[in-house]
Symmetry: C2
Subunit: 219 residues, 2 copies
């Protein structure tokens, strides 16, 4: 068997990939909302998984609200170092924003051990202490990009319903088998919180970062 490589310039690889994704979506008869399209396509680009064309759920004007927050210098809090690594921090910082992940912080490990919760849960509590009601960064819009831990998403749901936190956007795309589906369904019940959620079991830190970047590349 002869393996033939397609000749594509390094600078053209991404454009060519998006062209292929667009063509295949068309062949599948998928018609995407133009606001959501760049986000959906970037998730497919990151995973080669066309299920995201069906599984991503956007609250009303979620993209618009995410873009508004980023333009206002939003911080992005992730639930993994991998997610943090994947976010285009150059773009974010140009807008006055910052990416943060509290998972490896000693105080988060301490809280988790004391409370018997996951570090992901404790890291959301730490974020709420900073960005939530009465916190020192209450005025900075905060986007939560959860690609790994359903427990983080469940805690976000609780913090929002208790009125202690008002996220600018929740990106709810944890992956896995224990409470992943449920944690996402909880977010979908929030009436006033902008969200982008990948329904079902699939997702990941790579997907969370891809959604952040899809928004950043729109600005």
């Amino acid at each position: 068997m002869k393996i033939e490589l397609e000749q594509v310039l390094p600078s053209q690889i991404e454009a060519r990939s998006f062209e292929i994704i667009g063509r295949e979506l068309e062949q599948m008869g998928k018609v995407l909302d133009p606001e959501q399209e760049p986000v959906i396509k970037r998730c497919i680009h990151t995973t080669a998984d066309f299920e995201y064309a069906d599984s991503l759920v956007f609250s009303d004007r979620a993209v618009e609200q995410g873009l508004k927050a980023l333009k206002a210098g939003a911080h992005i809090v992730t639930d993994t170092r991998m997610g943090f690594s994947g976010v285009n921090k150059g773009r974010l910082e140009k807008l006055g924003g910052e990416a943060l992940c509290f998972m490896a912080d000693p105080d988060v490990a301490e809280i988790a051990a004391r409370e018997g919760c996951t570090r992901a849960t404790a890291s959301m509590d730490k974020a709420a202490g900073l960005y939530g009601t009465g916190g020192p960064r209450e005025r900075i819009p905060c986007i939560f990009a959860v690609g790994n831990a359903p427990t983080a998403l469940v805690r976000l749901y609780e913090l929002v319903t208790e009125g202690r936190l008002k996220p600018a956007l929740i990106i709810g795309v944890p992956v896995g088998f224990v409470n992943v589906v449920q944690s996402k369904e909880l977010i979908l019940t929030l009436p006033d919180t902008p969200y982008i959620v990948a329904r079902g079991r699939k997702g990941g830190s790579n997907v969370a970062a891809a959604i952040c970047n899809a928004l950043l590349y729109r600005i």
Copy 2:
């Protein structure tokens, strides 16, 4: 609709996930090679995508050779910061190993610009300069974990066939649409190089890190 969370202790979430994965694989009638099973299951755990039960291809005794290299203090070179972030560096360092990613190095950017290649290609050249024939780290076994760039994998193929590099293991799981399938097929033609490859378009930095960790957790 009532959303019910499963009550699972934080310390039990991973075990419960693997239990679900094992049960569902059984229901699908998949019988895995015991050597390969922990790697395959961890890829499914990371992606919630059961396709990895079919798409992962192992060269003869790849797991055994990967474990041997890690026990001997292998370094792991990744093609993204995300892959680097995902590798359990605590475990790796306990074995005398190290994780490295050259993608953000200024000399790599320079070479890429000069040669008109991707930074991923240039980063593999840099690795070959260190770990390849005559390089200062020639005696350190080197595992390449490629989860993003097919160009990195193509370059690895060339370096190996030119006799300039002898990887302890190639983890070839880039994701995407341009030369991804072909780059993996090239690796599958290498007669004497241990490899773990995810055939097809799917893969990712998360999958590359998951395979590294599946090996590390066996030791």
